[in-house]
Structures are given as C-alpha cells and as structure tokens.
Chain length 361, copies 2
C-alpha cells in the first residue's frame, strides 16, 4: 500500500472519488489551497465536474480507468463510503488513499461498525445480526417491542430501513430486502440527535468541531444547529467518543459520528460516516477551517486547521423543489447550490447557513 | 447593447475575462451559488482554468473567439480593466456585460478618471495632462516641488510610474515612457492609504464594505487591515464617496476606490478600480457575503448580499518566493494560494487572512 512520504505541495492533485455535492465542496476547498483536483464519477454529469478541469467518468469498478486516475493524482480520497473493496485495494496499490481500506470496510457494514463501536466500550442501540426471516423473529423477541431493521450495506437517507413493532413485521421487512443481510436495532427513544464532525491527520493529530444538534424530516437532514443543547461537558464527551473511534480506526481525514442523546443524557453511537458530513456544512462560514478544507489538509498530509467556531450557526438543507425559491433564499444567508440539473423529490439541491453572534465556545 | 431582463438562474454560466487569481476567486464564488463559469484568458495556463470545466484560451482581441465565448455565457464580466474598447463593444452586442463599456472607458485612463472624479466635486491630488516633455516641465512648475508622472493607461503595481522632484526629472521621465500619454500628479503627503470596496446592483442597490487601511511595499499591496484608523464618521464619508462614484458611472458590479487620507483627515481619491480588488480579499472570511460573491450577484442580476463584517481582519499578500513557506503559513490563518506555477519576483502567489474578534462595526 502506498503511503505519503511528504505533504502534497501546492500545484499537486487531489483525486476525489464521487462527484456529488460533497466532492464539489471538497474540490472548492482544495482549490483555495492552491491544490488541483481530479474528480472520478460513474456518470458524466456530476456536479463536481463543473468546478475542475480534470475529471474521469467511468464505472467505480473499472480498474483501467482507476489506474489512469491514480496516475494523475498525488493523493486520493472519497466523498462516499461505498466504493467496492477491490477497487480501493487496486487504487491503494499505486497511490496514497485516505481514509484507508480498513476504515471503509468497517464502516461500510452496519454490523461490523456496531460491533466495532461496542468493542471500544461505547454505547449503541442493542443490535442483532439478521440473515433470515427466522433470525428476524428471534432478534425481535429480544427487543422491548420496537425496532428498526436495516440492510447492512448501502443505506442512506433512510433507504434500506424499516420500523418494525412485531416479529411478523420484522420477518416481512427482512423479506422485502430480498435476501440482503441486515441488522435489527432496538428503537432508541432519544431526546434529540447530535453529531461530531472530526478529523485525524496522518501524524495522529486530532481536531473536532463543536457538535451540532440535528433535525431530520422524512429521514433526510433538515437542519443542524450549533451550539446544541449538549452543554460544554457533554460536548467534550462527544468529541472524546469521536477521538476514540478515529484512533481505533487509525483514520486519516474527516469523519462524522452520529449520536442519539438519550433522555438521561447518555450518548449512543448511531452511525459513523467515513467522510465529510452534511451536519458539518455550517463549518464553511462559522469556523476558521471548514470540514472540507480540513479533510483536504489531512488527505494531503498538511497540518490540520483550526476547528474553532467564531459564530453560532444554523444550516438548513434545500431539498427538491425548495430550490425554486433560490432568489429569496439568496437574501437569507450564505447560499450554497450544488449545480444539480433536476430538482427531484428528496434530492439535496443546496443549503443555507445563517450565522449568529457566538454564544459559547 | 444587450441588457439582462431577468436574473441568471442557478445552472446559468457567468463568463469571466481574465484567468488570474481574481478570475479564479470569482469562479469559486460563482460555483458556490450553483452558477457555472467560463474563463477567457489569452494564455492557456491561467490559474482560473483549474477551477472550471469551461474555458477559452485566445487573444483578447480575437473577435471570433469572443463571439463563441459570448454564446456560451448568460452574462460576462472581467477580472481586469484593460480589455480593448472594441472587444468590449463586440461582446456587449451579443451578451450582457457588466461593468459596462462607459465605466471601463473612464477608469482605463488616469486623465479621464481624475477629471471625472473632479467633476463630482471629490478631492484628488492636483493633476495635469502631459503629452510632451515641455508639458511635463510646465506642469511640474505648478506643483509644490514633488510629483509623480504616470502613464495614462495600463499601469499597475507601480509600473508606468516615476517620482520626480525637478522639471528636468519630469521631462526625462516622460521621455522614458516612449511617447505614451501621461499625467503628472502632485505628490500627496498622506498619513495612510485606505480603500472602499463597494458594489452596485443592476437595480441601483448599493453595498459597501468597511474600508480597510492598506500598506504597500515596493508599490505592491502588503497588508490590508480592517477596521482602519478612519473611525466611524470618516468610514461613512469614504463609503459615500464610493456611492457617489458608483452612481455617476451607473456601475454594475464590485469596484474599489483607493483613498489617500491626508494629515488633516481629508479623503483624496487616488484611483478607481472597476473590479474586485486586492484590498477586499479579507471579505471572504470576515463578511457574510464576500466581494467575489457580491460581484457575481451583481453581474448575474441577483439581489446584493450583506456586506456586514462579523470579525476584524488582517490580510497579507504572499509575494514571490514567500510562497515556499506554504506549510508554516497554512498554520497561521486562512490560506489562499492561486495555483500559479512560477513564483516570480513581485508576483502575487496567494494571501493569508487572520480573523480577530469584532471590535467595531
């Protein structure tokens, strides 16, 4: 596996796999630092293609295309976690790739991710492996009457998930997944959701942003607000959880830890996202160094930037046809639009961040 | 001349003539708003080419290339003021161009610019047209012993300027310009330099940033600091000067007014720059809407953004070989590098902005 012996200098090229809004915002951040970018996407009309002069449109498992891509890059990273493992291994044989294959492998699979979190002594919802309808029934019996069946892989924005409140429902939900391996998680009656967006550098340095509080609608993030209701002590505890996870994964780059905050204040790890995260978009305006710049710095072997927040912030997603109101939205804060052509239902088209004076650090 | 009947919607293309760092930062700002960009530059290795998928490399007076460029754009603007007048007229016949030909014509020529400023009743250094060595001598006799002879066109960063302290020196300096029309300006013994970066929208809206104080070294901007020593009342006076100029030019877009602050506090207009300006780079981090976004908004017919400053700021240019220290610079603030290959003497390679808590609005 290729390692990075010295930082990628200005003028060097960062390869980004995935050309959606996260790839686009990563590319914009890299450009600010004088780095060039090459975007790899499996369709030719990727939003991130618009913001660079180097791009590759090819399937994610096209090894020849990946080889050419790797040769044009000094370091490679991802905007999403679901690249096939053999494609990552292929890339990593010829170019520095961050985050690494191990971190991706663990976080690609909800079962291995939750097992890993449990191994670290961190709290999660109760969870059980489900590979058959009978296992779904048996697992449900161990819960307190409510659960969520989730496919182990490739879920996002609520896709591949079903709430279940009986053994029959659990079995039916499993069958609706058409044989995809799943896990059944106990339903957590949480007070609210929060997240920590954090970074680890190649030198083991760690930097965490203040945790926002997150609100979802129809399984899609609606709003992130910082500071959250956590308070200083719990916010530090949340950052320590992220640090623990980052170190155990020997992670390089930005990652997010989604947390349920229980009524008694306990922090339960819901999910680890091995990438920049929607709940960190407010860092573009409110922090000295945004999550996107931070990720590029880590991947390029640069010193991590300062995650300090100089303002309070509310970030709201602009979803589907909401983008039609772009002109009035542009009067209401820092507007980010992603360059997507079609405003399909549930599609993230942009976001709007409003800053407020800093109330606590 | 083409006008803009409705705002350029997200997905539309802003054409930017000039592919240096200003064009690059304009393109990055446009991308954030979901607009596409096409960069036109007279050499193929322009820094701004790296941050877009649409570019044209052709001479600035290549009318066929300009026609093709205009056809691919919904609005066109500039990163510099020295495009040939006939090229602007050609463009404006087929696409909305902002700022307009009149504003560019006046500000391209120091004599017409200073005459225009005087007509508005604003203060400037005394100035005289110089088209011959004898005129240089005669003009010098009207000054108080010191002056600066400047070519009327194409000067920047101190190029095409000579300090003179005798009639002989004035005549010799004129001859060194090899016949280029010039003006002789009286030397102003100013206390310090300041500038106003401001914007006018197509609807006549006006927005000015707080004026920074500017320090030069070897005729190149070293540092801009905001707030300046002006104080609130003088800062408002400076913004009012910019408003006066913007309205008289019927200007659309961002422009800068460079000011000398005399020992008695008088504000003298030194120069008008019909474009985003180096003394406004700090707005990227310190303001809700940066000068680059503001310019794109104005050119695209969007509502102007909020120029309010949420922090104090110091912006320092990174010049020539100073860029070699990029790794340590990256620890000191918000680093911007421009993607230029060669770090030539006196070349602006990037800038660094440090924010401090807001001390006054």
């Amino acid at each position: 596996m290729k390692t990075l012996n010295k930082p990628v200098p200005p003028g060097g090229t960062i390869g980004i796999i995935g050309g959606g809004q996260l790839g686009r915002m990563l590319a914009l951040a890299a450009s600010r630092l004088g780095l060039r970018t090459c975007i790899y996407n499996d369709t030719p009309d990727a939003p991130a293609f618009q913001v660079t002069d180097q791009s590759v449109a090819a399937p994610y498992d096209d090894l020849a295309a990946l080889t050419g891509f790797a040769e044009s890059c000094d370091a490679v990273t991802f905007e999403f976690e679901n690249l096939p493992a053999h494609a990552i291994a292929h890339l990593a044989s010829s170019v520095w790739v961050a985050p690494g294959a191990q971190a991706l492998a663990i976080t690609q699979d909800r079962l291995s991710e939750k097992t890993f979190v449990e191994t670290l002594g961190l709290k999660t919802a109760p969870f059980f492996e489900v590979s058959s309808a009978q296992q779904a029934r048996d697992a449900f019996a161990k819960l307190n009457g409510r659960g969520i069946l989730k496919t182990r892989r490739f879920g996002y924005d609520g896709k591949g998930q079903a709430k279940v409140s009986s053994a029959d429902e659990a079995a039916k939900a499993f069958e609706s997944f058409k044989g995809a391996p799943a896990i059944l998680e106990g339903f957590v009656d949480f007070e609210y959701e929060a997240s920590v967006v954090a970074a680890r550098g190649g030198d083991g340095g760690f930097a965490a942003y203040d945790p926002p509080e997150n609100e979802h609608e129809n399984h899609i993030l609606r709003r992130s607000t910082v500071p959250s209701r956590l308070g200083a002590a719990k916010a530090e505890e949340a950052k320590a959880i992220a640090r623990r996870i980052g170190e155990a994964l020997d992670y390089v780059g930005v990652f997010a830890v989604e947390l349920f905050v229980a009524k008694d204040g306990a922090l339960l790890v819901n999910e680890i996202a091995p990438r920049v995260h929607n709940t960190g978009h407010w860092t573009i305006e409110a922090c000295a160094c945004s999550q996107f710049e931070q990720h590029i710095r880590a991947v390029a072997g640069w010193p991590l930037g300062d995650p300090a927040r100089h303002a309070d912030a509310v970030m709201e997603n602009i979803i589907g046809a909401e983008v039609d109101a772009w002109e009035s939205l542009s009067k209401g804060g820092a507007l980010h639009l992603y360059g997507k052509k079609e405003a399909r239902l549930g599609r993230k088209m942009g976001h709007l961040t409003r800053l407020k004076p800093l109330t606590k650090a």
